[in-house]
């Protein structure tokens, strides 16, 4: 049995991704790249008020543009079922990005809400016409200023998966008497995912059958959502997304573009493509909430934490949005004697917020890990040493066991690779010409979860294996990784495995989110392969072919193929599966604290005069459980770090606090890191499997970004002596 050339297991090998050739040759087809006869193009008309009522829409000029087929508004659009309120009883309801019934209401809930759509023969005609649609509004008083609303924030309700607040002892009392304290406010702005592919939908109705190519990271739930909204049976809806050009959470939910494209296709009877402009991506897709946070730490003079308080205010919308677990890291990272975390939120006339890479944890870790660095300064203790003195043996808030936690080892490994011992303790003590040089460190932490996925695996007598599962591939490499896992489990070569994914016609899977897709699908693939192996042994015994290859056994048994299925797509089966899954999630949450973690080390150079910051060196050591494929996993970890560099230094939606409009809705205004901003990034993984997760996988999609902004802020403080607690750290904050 050939496994690889060197006879090693495939799991753990840096296998080339299977879609590499398609993507490097331009052969991969994304959602806006499917040709249909009679294809039309749509363009959205955004509202220009934050709250109000449409009093009139004049579409005459738009309709007169040559090539325009129709202009749809709430006055003439087909009626849709309103979205359901999100409920854990039906997880697909979570996929509704907002509660607005687009083009079925005269109400406007945020600046940028689509209020009309133009369908035309070309996208130019559609866009030209969209600009000519004139909408009149009755304006209503709108609340759009997050900072001004902060005092009116109300406490978040928690749930078993995402506790809103937590308490151990009396942190405030302990803080009041602690000999050494830090008490500071940290703020982060709205961030946009800005995946390179703008959201795109190609929608085709044939009778009551709907085919949708959509840049979604939630195929199964989107299909349910569309069936509900358009009043057709789920079986009639097919969602296809084999290639998605990045998501990061921004494509997890159904945003207006998708719904309106399907609506426009139904109204016109023609295939419709709606490709959001980059401005639409900023104004008609949810973003990461801004935050205001307080972290207060109390310690004895030996650096033992006696008090840890972390509170947060985030923003949600009157028409949707979700709480974020901003203070979650404070519940897991430090063995403080007393802990209090509390999360609250404001409700604004704003686009609902949505998940963005490590929701909550990415911004929460900025505040907490900055504050720990500040405390280290107050105490005169090395920040790595301070963390080690407070590294818990059990989950600090409730004493649960860690399923896996090798943060000490990660710090030791990272420090060695980075050369942390060369850091001089004093801030502003290293200068290289005009550059002030500093080193910073911070902890990465992201919870690990496993949901359920339905999978079928077929082993054929010709030796090929087909894995079928409606999971999503936005670049993470899941198809490659699942092929590795199946090949190993069945003892066939990697090349013998074909993986089918990205299609709602396949067995239903989980959305891509929470860094849980790889472990979730792997669990089901392993279970299915186990069934096949048992079946194969039975056949081998029956035919006297024990110890032979699958091909030999199946041929001898005259069986063309054997199938194994895990999970069920029937209504009852799906419900049972969901119930089992939720029960397992809750049980797991009660039993274990499970997470991926790591240590970021970075060096920055700050121009002493202009305040320009360059990140010059990076080492990160992670405990992400078992690494299935170094090539794809490390790339995700690096990508997370680079997004964190953007968060630390550039990324910010600039909003007009009077009107609630985003002022920089473009890639020239919203800066993400370019190649020249990124230093060599040294990644190391401990590669020790977690005992409670399939194959020991803890997930790599999100942990990379956590702690990054703090590591940079800490390095900047070390370089310059300036502590910046407001992201992004732009040059003006450092010199004026």
């Amino acid at each position: 049995m050939t496994r690889t050339v060197d006879g090693e297991h495939l799991v753990g090998q840096p296998i080339d991704r299977i879609d590499g050739p398609a993507k490097t040759t331009g052969g991969a087809r994304f959602s806006a790249e499917h040709a249909y006869p009679g294809l039309t193009h749509a363009a959205l008309v955004p509202a220009t008020v934050s709250r109000g009522r449409i009093t009139a829409i004049d579409t005459a000029a738009a309709a007169a543009v040559p090539g325009v087929i129709t202009v749809l508004t709430h006055g003439n659009a087909p009626k849709l079922n309103p979205p359901k309120r999100p409920t854990p009883a039906n997880l697909s309801t979570l996929v509704s990005g907002t509660q607005v019934n687009y083009l079925n209401t005269d109400e406007v809930h945020w600046d940028g809400q689509p209020v009309a759509v133009v369908v035309a023969e070309t996208s130019h005609a559609a866009r030209e016409a969209a600009a000519l649609v004139h909408v009149s509004y009755e304006r209503l008083p709108a609340v759009v200023d997050f900072a001004a609303e902060e005092p009116n924030a109300v406490a978040q309700k928690g749930n078993p998966v995402m506790p809103g607040s937590a308490k151990k002892g009396d942190a405030d009392a302990a803080l009041a008497v602690a000999p050494v304290t830090v008490d500071a406010r940290y703020t982060t702005p709205q961030h946009h995912h800005n995946a390179l592919e703008p959201h795109a939908t190609t929608a085709v109705w044939q009778g009551d059958e709907l085919t949708v190519h959509d840049s979604t990271q939630s195929i199964t739930w989107l299909r349910k959502h569309l069936a509900l909204r358009f009043g057709v049976p789920e079986a009639k809806v097919r969602v296809l997304a084999p290639f998605v050009g990045g998501g990061f959470g921004g494509k997890g939910f159904a945003w207006p573009g998708t719904i309106i494209a399907v609506l426009a296709a139904r109204a016109t009877g023609r295939p419709v493509r709606l490709l959001l402009t980059r401005e639409d991506v900023h104004r008609a897709v949810g973003a990461r909430t801004p935050s205001a946070q307080r972290v207060a730490l109390g310690a004895d003079t030996g650096g033992r934490l006696t008090a840890l308080v972390h509170t947060s205010v985030t923003r949600t919308s009157r028409v949707g949005g979700q709480p974020e677990q901003v203070t979650a890291p404070a519940q897991h990272l430090y063995d403080a004697t007393n802990i209090r975390t509390a999360q609250s939120q404001t409700t604004l006339d704003w686009m609902p917020n949505t998940s963005m890479r490590a929701p909550g944890d990415a911004i929460g870790s900025f505040a907490l890990e900055s504050a720990i660095d500040e405390l280290a300064g107050e105490l005169g203790i090395d920040p790595v040493e301070l963390r080690m003195r407070n590294e818990p043996e059990r989950n600090p808030i409730d004493g649960k066991r860690f399923s896996h936690r090798m943060l000490r080892e990660a710090y030791a490994l990272g420090a060695r690779r980075f050369g942390w011992e060369n850091r001089s303790p004093e801030p502003r003590s290293t200068r290289d010409g005009r550059w002030l040089v500093g080193m910073g460190v911070a902890t990465a932490y992201h919870p690990a979860m496993q949901f359920t996925a339905n999978v079928t695996v077929r082993l054929a007598a010709d030796g090929t294996v087909t894995v079928r599962c409606g999971f999503q591939e936005m670049g993470m490499g899941n198809a490659t990784v699942q092929a590795q896992i199946a090949a190993d489990a069945l003892g066939v070569p990697f090349e013998a495995v074909r993986v089918e994914y990205g299609d709602s016609a396949l067995p239903a899977s989980v959305m891509a989110g929470g860094s849980m897709q790889t472990s979730t699908v792997a669990g089901s693939v392993l279970a299915a392969c186990g069934k096949l192996t048992r079946r194969l042994s039975t056949l081998a015994r029956r035919t006297g072919m024990q110890g032979r290859t699958p091909t030999e056994i199946l041929t001898a048994a005259r069986v063309p193929f054997i199938d194994a299925a895990v999970g069920s797509d029937t209504r009852l089966g799906a419900l049972a599966g969901q119930a089992r899954m939720l029960a397992k999630v809750v049980r797991d949450q009660r039993t274990w604290a499970k997470a991926a973690c790591g240590a970021h080390f970075c060096e920055v150079r700050v121009d002493a005069d202009t305040g320009e910051v360059r990140v010059s060196r990076w080492t990160a050591a992670f405990d992400v459980g078992r690494v299935i494929n170094r090539k794809t996993a490390f790339s995700q970890l690096r990508g997370g770090i680079v997004m964190g560099i953007g968060m630390a230094l550039f990324e910010e939606a600039l909003v007009d606090r009077r009107t609630g409009r985003i002022m920089n809705p473009s890639l020239s205004g919203y800066h993400v890191p370019v190649h020249a901003d990124v230093p060599p990034i040294d990644i190391a993984c401990l590669d020790e499997p977690d005992p409670t997760m399939p194959l020991g996988i803890l997930g790599v999609g999100e942990v990379g970004i956590t702690g990054v902004a703090a590591a940079i802020a800490n390095a900047i403080h070390h370089a310059t002596g300036s502590r910046i607690r407001d992201l992004p750290i732009t040059p003006d904050k450092l010199v004026t």
């Binding site: 130019h124 030209e128 202009t610 920089n664 020249a676 040059p731 010199v735």
Partner: protein
């Protein structure tokens, strides 16, 4: 919309006279963005990439005549020695793809306060050559920028070239941006030193790119022209203050007014130091900030 495709300058000027509403397009780095985003639907596009005369440069009467259609990449590779300041500014424009298409003529046509070549054109004392069927004229760079994204062109005129003196002393350009590349200037600065001449100009620091006349007079009077010694810190500081004082910046999405003033002072101090060192050592290229 019509797409007009002249192959000679005469033809282009005739078309522009006939269709003053036609929008000239060369590298497309500004015009196409407006078209793609539907910010503009002109009656016609006047494509200048087929006009060979615009894509040439030459030297005569001690001046370089740089055709309006020469892309930045060629300025960098072909004119780095002759027009070092302009080449430096060109290197900081967008990305390689943008520099392959974008032109100094286009920078002038768009007249954005953040355009990278403006400070160099001002500091070198460049003249903008424009033409129409009525004839040609040249306009001093400082008279060319008339407002935010506005310039001195008449509706029937096209920018045909820029005339710049070849470097005879030292030229420096510097800009500040948050990123390491693909930077729209938060502010930018150019200084040109020739025997008895100092040109100083700022970008992204006022509604139009502007010269800092007082700073120029200061340099002419105070630089130790006769005995080229390293500059005193006090002189650099005084110069930086004059430069910052010449700015009239605003708070916008890329930076605050206060930061712009501060950063301009820093750029002025640095660029002057480099330029003076070059001047003393008879040239030699330096990295810009």
């Amino acid at each position: 919309m019509d797409f007009l495709r002249p192959t000679t300058l005469d033809e282009a000027l005739a078309l522009k006279a006939e269709r003053p509403g036609a929008v000239p397009i060369a590298g497309g780095t500004d015009v196409m963005v407006e078209l793609n985003f539907d910010h503009r639907r002109p009656e016609a596009l006047l494509d200048l990439t087929g006009v060979a005369e615009l894509a040439e440069w030459s030297t005569s009467d001690g001046q370089v005549r740089l055709g309006a259609g020469v892309p930045y990449t060629r300025v960098i590779t072909e004119l780095g020695d002759v027009l070092p300041g302009l080449a430096m500014a060109s290197r900081t424009v967008g990305s390689p793809q943008i520099r392959n298409r974008g032109t100094v003529g286009g920078n002038l046509g768009a007249a954005s306060p953040a355009g990278d070549t403006h400070p160099v054109l001002l500091a070198t004392g460049a003249r903008v050559e424009v033409a129409s069927v009525r004839g040609g004229r040249t306009i001093a760079a400082e008279a060319f920028y008339t407002g935010v994204k506005r310039n001195a062109l008449e509706p029937d005129e096209l920018i045909t070239a820029v005339h710049l003196p070849p470097a005879s002393g030292a030229e420096q350009f510097a800009k500040v941006g948050t990123r390491n590349a693909m930077v729209i200037a938060v502010c930018s600065f150019a200084v040109v030193l020739r025997p008895g001449y100092a040109g100083v100009a700022l970008g992204s620091a006022a509604p139009v790119p502007r010269r800092a006349a007082e700073a120029e007079r200061f340099l002419v009077a105070e630089l130790p022209w006769q005995t080229p010694v390293p500059l005193a810190d006090s002189l650099k500081r005084a110069f930086a203050e004059l430069v910052a004082g010449a700015a009239d910046p605003i708070d916008d999405v890329r930076g605050s007014a206060a930061y712009r003033r501060h950063a301009l002072g820093v750029l002025a101090r640095r660029a002057l130091t480099w330029a003076w060192d070059d001047y003393r050592n008879n040239g030699g290229e330096r990295q810009c900030a």
